[in-house]
Each structure stands twice: as structure tokens, then as C-alpha cells.
């Protein structure tokens, strides 16, 4: 018997229409932000989504939380497809899937107190009687390491790291099963990043929350997620357990991405890894290259790469999958 994964995303597509200018605007094309993405996420697990800006990782996160309605594809949450769910049908689901945003400065309402921000979900879903809300808010603040007495303060009275904790407390209010964390620490100072990462890991263990962790920092993703998917131009090009992905990447793009990360450890031992210089920028997602989308920047590309799109499949003895005609050994 196979068990249903908590989240099963199948062939997810999000195309944003591009309108022509003028009085009569016509749709002249589509930005193919997400173009056939599939993955599963088990309860209490963590999947990392990495890629450059414009790769579609953030859009994927916004689709999973249903902040946006996908063009096509399925999002099975506990076996139920939520891709087409109406706002009314979505309301109970919002309790189970919550989001942590990147920027702790713009994602908190400056005119609301912390108590109001963290307590708002309780009010909206009418879960806890008004008289007991404050106690629950204080409990949540304590969980994320803030002083529970600070519930009547405003966001500007907190530092960046503390604000991100407020955002996490708000996401935890409804005891979600999945947290979509979109670049949760990239706006924070290095010494504070580690505090927030450790907090999220503690919460994951304590409350058995599954994380969809979106980030461009490959070192942090490696630390947080046992499984990682690499996105390029709206598609997953490689998905593998972290040990495999970082030691033996199969897709040339993954290899190039990893080689670009400055590494303190390497400098300490005096060596410098060979860096693969990717030339040019990511092509336009309105007119992505035919066949393999990475071929325009790939040093291994041959004719077949332009005509045939490589399927995402296991390569060699690895447990991961990669979409490449000429995978790395």
C-alpha cells in the first residue's frame, strides 16, 4: 500500500499573460513562470527549491499556498486537489498551508501591534474565544523566542531578526502542516540568520511541520533540506538528496551553480575550486529556448538539446533525477 504524501504537486503550470500596450490590449504572449513542475513533500519533511531569479521558485511557492491560481496542473494536499479550489473552499486549507515571507520590513503591517498581527489568523478563523486570544498570542511569542510581554509593541520597535520571528509566529498561529518559506533569512545579518534557521528547525521537529524552503543561498538550503530541487526557467532540472546533489551534481546547471558559490572552507585550506563561468543571462521566459532550456548557456550542448526536451529521469546509480541529455558522471 502506498501512502498519500502530504503534498503532491503534478505538472504545475503558471503562465502570466503579456498584454500589448494601447487602448485595446491584446494578449501577445505568456511569461512561462512555472512550466510543468512536479514534486512531493511528506509530513515533517523539508524540500529545498533553488535557482536564480526568474527561475519560478517563488511563483511555485505562491501557487502551493494558492496565493495565485495555477494555469493548469494539480496540487494534491492530503489527496485533495486544491489547484482549482474556490476562495470558500480554500479557507479551511489556509490553516494547513502557511507562508513565511522574505522581507520582515514590508510583510508586517506597521500600524498593527504584534499581538494584532499574530492574533489575526485566530480572529479570521474564529478558533479561540476572544478572551483567550491574548494567552495564545503570548504563548506563540514565547515559542519563537520573543518576550511575551511585547505583544502591544509595533513592528518598528523590533530588529530585523525579531521581525522575522514575528512573521514565523504569525505563520504558526494556525498550527499549519506545511510552511512555505520564501527566502526567510536572506534579508537578515549573518549572525542572525543562524538564529532564525535554528528556530525553524526546532519548530519543524517539535510540530512536525513540512517545509517548502525557497532560497538562492545554496549553503543554507543544504543545511536545512535533505532533498533539493534545482529550478531553471520554470522547470525543475534536477532533484536529488543533498548528499548527492552537492557532491555529484548530474545537471550541468547544478554544477555551474555550485561552483559559483564562494566558499570560506576552500579559502581556508588555500585552494580554490575551479569555477564554471556561465556567460550571459537567463533567457526570457516569454520565449524560452526549444528543447533543453539551459542549452544556450551550456558548454555541453549539442544538436539534440535544441530539438528534444530531456525528461526528468534517474541518471546512473543515483536516487535523484535530472533532465539532461549529457549528464555529468
Amino acid at each position: 500500500m502506498t501512502t498519500t504524501p502530504l503534498l503532491d504537486v503534478r505538472d504545475l503550470v503558471m503562465h502570466f499573460p503579456v498584454k500589448s500596450r494601447g487602448i485595446i490590449s491584446r494578449t501577445v504572449g505568456h511569461v512561462k513562470a512555472v512550466d510543468g513542475v512536479s514534486f512531493t513533500l511528506g509530513a515533517g519533511q523539508a524540500l529545498g527549491l533553488v535557482g536564480e531569479s526568474g527561475s519560478g521558485k517563488t511563483t511555485t511557492g505562491r501557487l502551493v499556498t494558492r496565493l495565485q491560481k495555477p494555469t493548469s496542473g494539480q496540487i494534491l494536499f492530503e489527496g485533495q486537489d486544491i489547484a482549482d479550489a474556490s476562495p470558500r473552499q480554500l479557507k479551511p486549507l489556509r490553516r494547513d498551508i502557511q507562508m513565511i515571507f522574505q522581507d520582515p520590513y514590508t510583510s508586517l503591517n506597521p500600524r498593527q501591534t504584534v499581538g494584532e498581527i499574530v492574533g489575526a489568523p485566530l480572529e479570521i478563523h474564529n478558533l479561540v474565544p476572544k478572551s483567550k486570544r491574548l494567552a495564545r498570542v503570548q504563548e506563540l511569542l514565547e515559542i519563537v523566542g520573543l518576550n511575551p510581554e511585547h505583544y502591544n509593541r509595533y513592528p518598528h520597535e523590533f530588529s530585523g531578526g525579531q521581525r522575522q520571528r514575528i512573521g514565523i509566529a504569525r505563520a504558526l498561529t494556525l498550527q499549519p502542516k506545511i510552511l512555505v518559506a520564501d527566502e526567510p533569512v536572506s534579508a537578515l545579518d549573518v549572525s542572525i540568520q543562524a538564529q532564525v534557521i535554528n528556530l525553524m528547525q526546532d519548530l519543524q521537529r517539535e510540530f512536525n511541520i513540512a517545509f517548502l524552503f525557497i532560497a538562492h543561498d545554496l549553503a543554507i538550503v543544504r543545511h536545512f533540506c535533505p532533498e533539493i530541487a534545482v529550478m531553471y526557467l520554470g522547470k525543475i532540472v534536477e532533484r536529488a538528496p543533498r548528499e548527492e546533489l552537492y557532491s555529484a551534481p548530474k545537471h550541468p546547471y547544478t554544477k555551474a551553480l555550485l561552483s559559483a558559490v564562494p566558499d570560506v572552507e576552500q579559502a581556508r585550506i588555500g585552494g580554490r575550486r575551479e569555477r564554471i563561468r556561465l556567460t550571459g543571462d537567463v533567457p526570457s521566459p516569454i520565449n524560452p529556448p526549444s528543447g533543453c532550456r539551459f542549452r544556450t548557456r551550456c558548454w555541453k550542448a549539442q544538436d539534440v538539446c535544441a530539438t528534444q526536451e530531456p525528461p526528468l529521469e534517474p541518471k546512473g546509480a543515483s536516487t535523484g533525477v535530472a533532465a539532461c541529455h549529457f549528464p555529468e558522471p
Binding site: G160, Q193, N198, V264
Partner: protein
């Protein structure tokens, strides 16, 4: 004895505010030679950007109190009048800012913005400045520079905009280039391209480069020397290799420990530095890092010395300075037993 090319001596930058004086930089000193790269590391509010803006004379005299000396090629920049400073700014010293989208004017063509920087220091016709601009755009790797010169900033990608900023900064062949978090807003692949470019240009023009960043990985890639700042003061100063392998100040060690790596074991939890940086209006009396420092008890058993007495910036070995009472930094590298014994 001749002075080093750039010598910042006892630089102090204070901002009086209604809540008290913000002591953003307190007695900062360092030197830099041409062709060398100095990395300045620190958290937000450590004074790394404020002290570097002082070199460009970007602090208005009406709202900032700046004292000390900044010698660049034999001239004390802080003694100059606004008028004289304007001649140096952009000509000898140039800066690359963190966010190219807010540093470029959205209404003007990028070519005009770059040419303006050139014409501010060279009395040449527009046509000449334009040719020079196209040359510079080509040099920083913008494809079809003769066409892109007439584009607006929003028509460029993030990486391309940062290249435009670099072209603008380098158009007058400055001898000192200050890059304030030049790659923080960029993807790793683009970051790698920009860092390569900066290093190529540096060796070509023999520029002195100050790289302000909070990313120790970037420091490891590009810096010859590193200055670690905390609460407006230098807390550690030394060669990049020495500082990254044998940090001698608990704050530096904390930074190194708190970042995950792309290689090495994954299962050990990160070791964050507890707490947050101190207020710059009411900084702690002794060592500014004392409230967050796990090693102060090893100094005299109670940590009282760290709480009350500001340590001096003293050499631990030749060329490697630290501001810390802890005599033997080796105890930091050991796992916790020494600490637990003290507690």
C-alpha cells in the same frame, strides 16, 4: 617614511539625534596600498558603510560630526573644502553601491548618466564622453554597448545594472574604488561574474579596492586583508587567510561558525551568535561584544574586565590585530569543555 596610499587615521563619525549621539564610527584606522583589496566585514550598523562614505565626503557637515584624518595619496581628504572634495570624488575615489536600481536615475538613459560622471571631471564635448562611455560599457561586458548606451535602467537586468554602476565608477580611472555590498542583491552565478570582473579591472588599472560585505565567502574570494567591524570599531584586522583560519576575536569566530557551508558535514546545528548588536547611542562601557560573548568568563572568571574596560586593538602576531582581552584565542577553537569548566 612615506605614507601608505590610503591611510585612515582615527576616523570618528557621530550623528547627533534627538535621542542622543549615534556613535557610528569610533576611532577607526587602517591602510591600503594600490592594487590591494581590503575587505570590511560587519553587521548592519557596525559602521562599515558610514566609515567608507566618509572617504568620499558624503556626510553633510550639518548633521554629522566627522573627525580624524583620511590620507589619500598625500592629501588629507577631511581637511578639504566641499569644493575641493568635489574634484576628488568620482575622479580619484569612486563608489559602487549595493542596489543599482536605486542608485541609477530611472528617467535618464544609462549612457547619459555615465557620461555625466566623465564630463564632471573632463572638459570634453558630449560626443567624446559618449565614445568613452561606450568603451567603458564594452569593458564591463555589456553586449552591443553602442546600442545599450541609449537604454534606460529598467531595460537592464540586475547583473547588467551592476555592470553599469561599475562602468560609471571606473570611467575616470579612480585610484581607489569602494564597493559597498556590490553583489548582495545578485544571484550567485552573476555574483561570480561581477567578482571576476572587479578583480580583472583591479589588476588592469592597479586600483586600491575596499570591498564592504557581510559575506565571508566573498571575502575569502577577493580580499588580501580583512577588517572586522563591530559597533563602530575595528575588532580584528589581518590578512584574509590568517583571519579566516585563525580568528582571534570571538565575534569573528562566531561569524565563521554561524554560516553553513556548501561542503563539510550537514548534521551539526548552526551556532548562531546569541543576542543582537548593541545600541550605538548607548554602547556598552567595555567591550561592545561583551553582552553576546561566550568567552568573557575565561578572561578573569567573572567577565568583569570585559564589561568595564575597552580592550585595545593589539597585535597577536605581526600584522594580525585583535581587540579582545582573551589572551589565548586557541581556547575558542576547542569544543565547549573550557567554557563549561569556567561556568
Amino acid at each position: 617614511m612615506s605614507r601608505p596610499f590610503l591611510s585612515v587615521e582615527n576616523l570618528v563619525v557621530h550623528f547627533p539625534t534627538p535621542d542622543g549621539v549615534v556613535k557610528a564610527t569610533n576611532g577607526l584606522s587602517y591602510t591600503l596600498e594600490r592594487g590591494q583589496t581590503l575587505g570590511i566585514v560587519g553587521e548592519s550598523g557596525s559602521g562599515k558603510s558610514v566609515s567608507s562614505s566618509a572617504i568620499l565626503g558624503l556626510h553633510r557637515r550639518t548633521n554629522a560630526q566627522v573627525s580624524g584624518q583620511i590620507w589619500l595619496d598625500g592629501v588629507d581628504l577631511l581637511s578639504l573644502s566641499d569644493e575641493e572634495m568635489r574634484k576628488h570624488r568620482g575622479q580619484d575615489v569612486a563608489m559602487i553601491f549595493q542596489d543599482p536600481l536605486s542608485a541609477l536615475h530611472p528617467y535618464y538613459r544609462v549612457g547619459d548618466q555615465i557620461a555625466e560622471a566623465y564630463r564632471a571631471h573632463h572638459n570634453v564635448p558630449k560626443r567624446v564622453a559618449r565614445t568613452r562611455t561606450i568603451e567603458m560599457l564594452a569593458r564591463v561586458g555589456i553586449p552591443q554597448p553602442d546600442r545599450r548606451v541609449d537604454d534606460y535602467p529598467h531595460q537592464f537586468t540586475g547583473g547588467m545594472r551592476q555592470r553599469v554602476m561599475i562602468a560609471m565608477a571606473l570611467i575616470n580611472d579612480p585610484t581607489l574604488l569602494i564597493a559597498d555590498e556590490p553583489t548582495t542583491a545578485l544571484d550567485v552565478t552573476v555574483q561570480a561574474q561581477i567578482l571576476d570582473l572587479l578583480q580583472d579591472l583591479q589588476s588592469e588599472f592597479h586600483t586600491a579596492l575596499i570591498m564592504i560585505t557581510h559575506d565571508l565567502g566573498v571575502i575569502a574570494e577577493v580580499a588580501d586583508d580583512v577588517l572586522v567591524m563591530y559597533a563602530g570599531r575595528a575588532v580584528e584586522y589581518g590578512s584574509a587567510r590568517e583571519l579566516l583560519t585563525r580568528p582571534s576575536m570571538p565575534y569573528t569566530w562566531g561569524l565563521i561558525q554561524s554560516i553553513p557551508d556548501v561542503s563539510g558535514p550537514v548534521d551539526k546545528p548552526l551556532r548562531p551568535i546569541p543576542g543582537s548588536p548593541p545600541s550605538l547611542v548607548h554602547p556598552p562601557m567595555g567591550c561592545a561584544f561583551f553582552p553576546r560573548c561566550p568567552y568573557s568568563k575565561l578572561v578573569d572568571g567573572s567577565g568583569e574586565r570585559c564589561a568595564n574596560e575597552l580592550p585595545d586593538l593589539l597585535p597577536i602576531v605581526s600584522g594580525h590585530l585583535k581587540r579582545c582581552h582573551l589572551e589565548d584565542p586557541e581556547v575558542m577553537y576547542q569544543e565547549t569543555p573550557a567554557l563549561e569548566a569556567a561556568q
